[in-house]
């Protein structure tokens, strides 16, 4: 049907798209997967997500640090190091989740 005698055939799609967007008929293009649970974006929900992300990294880090300490008998050193690393990983988690997308 693209071989129509109408010479403005190509521009029809453009005009249709323009008219549709003028009337708000086209849904704005959404990127699924970029915002997990985005429709639960209440302040409470966001706080919950940030808290879980930060604390989970810290929990894993402390567990690993404490385990390595027990293994090597270097009691407080590795735990202390891994607490710092875990805090950084928690911030990284939060950044991954809330960073502005390019």
């Amino acid at each position: 049907m693209s071989e129509n005698p109408g010479d403005d055939d190509g521009s029809f799609e453009e005009r249709l798209a323009a008219a549709r967007s003028r009337r708000g008929l086209d849904a704005p293009p959404n990127q699924p997967g970029n915002d997990p649970g985005g429709f639960g974006a209440t302040p409470w929900g966001i706080g919950m997500r940030v808290g879980i992300e930060m604390v989970s990294a810290l929990v894993v880090a402390v567990a690993i640090g404490y385990g390595l300490d027990r293994l090597f008998g270097t009691r407080p050193i590795l735990t202390a190091v891994f607490v710092l690393l875990g805090g950084a990983a928690g911030v990284l988690n939060v950044w991954r989740e809330f960073a502005p997308r390019q």
Partner: protein
């Protein structure tokens, strides 16, 4: 009841008791396991009964079954990419297992198996092992470049790689705790306000107003619980998809 002995026993509802009489007791088959079986049976029933008519113009149940299929398929393909089709059965099973577990748990006298960290941690561990295995299978040793951020001076790598690894491993905790905490918190709230109704209602006429208020709160909480049940199942599934996307594509 929750209000027995003057205190509020908000956590008693999470106790496991043997189901199915002495048969269940002999193999430690708890009500949690029974609910898991029920969730699986409900998923199968939705698909089997829904798709039995095979009508051109679907009825209500068939629409529900087709919508379930389409939603999860869309989630897989849009999040993971065209490779996502391979993971569709897994995501579908995971999503509907959690969804029906959450939804059935809101039913009175039912048990929410997702409110146990053991269950959610097991599921999250399975997801983690799967994503890591998929990444290793597809990329081999190149998978470990996932932990090396791009465009960073080499001097900083000894600091950044452990942070990336910790961030990767912490998915295990965040994935499981998110589901577990949401489900448990909701049911504790229900229990607490339910106990308020009973205790205040039995305390005399002047306490009927706060008892009625607690009842209103509980009504709202039940609705909220349904929202959380669907939302958390969705979040678990979509996060699994995102992790699989990372595993398939690396970065």
């Amino acid at each position: 009841m929750a209000a027995q002995g003057g205190g509020i026993d908000a956590l008693g509802q999470f106790q496991l008791v043997p189901a199915l009489g002495s048969y269940g007791a002999s193999v430690n088959f708890s009500q949690s396991n029974l609910m898991m079986v029920l969730a699986g049976v409900l998923t199968l029933a939705l698909l089997w009964l829904g798709m039995r008519p095979r009508a051109m113009v679907p009825g209500r149940l068939q629409s529900a079954a087709e919508m379930a299929y389409n939603t999860v398929m869309g989630m897989c393909v849009e999040t993971i990419g065209p490779e996502g089709r391979a993971f569709f059965p897994f995501i579908f099973t995971l999503f509907f297992f959690i969804l029906f577990g959450n939804l059935v748990g809101v039913w009175p006298y039912a048990f929410t198996f997702t409110s146990h960290i053991a269950v959610t941690l097991a599921m999250a561990a399975f997801v983690m092992v799967l994503t890591t295995a998929v990444a290793l299978r597809l990329h081999g040793l190149k998978f470990f470049s996932y932990f090396v951020p791009e465009g960073v001076p080499k001097l900083l790598l000894p600091l950044l790689v452990p942070i990336e690894v910790l961030s990767y491993v912490s998915r295990l905790i965040s994935l499981s705790v998110r589901l577990f905490a949401n489900m448990m918190a909701g049911h504790v709230m229900l229990e607490v306000f339910g106990a308020f109704i009973v205790m205040l209602g039995g305390a005399g006429l002047i306490f009927w107003a706060p008892a009625a208020f607690s009842f209103a709160v509980n009504v709202a909480l039940i609705g909220f619980e349904f929202l959380v049940a669907v939302l958390q199942a969705y979040v678990f599934a979509i996060l699994t998809c995102i992790y699989l996307h990372d595993a398939v594509h690396l970065h």
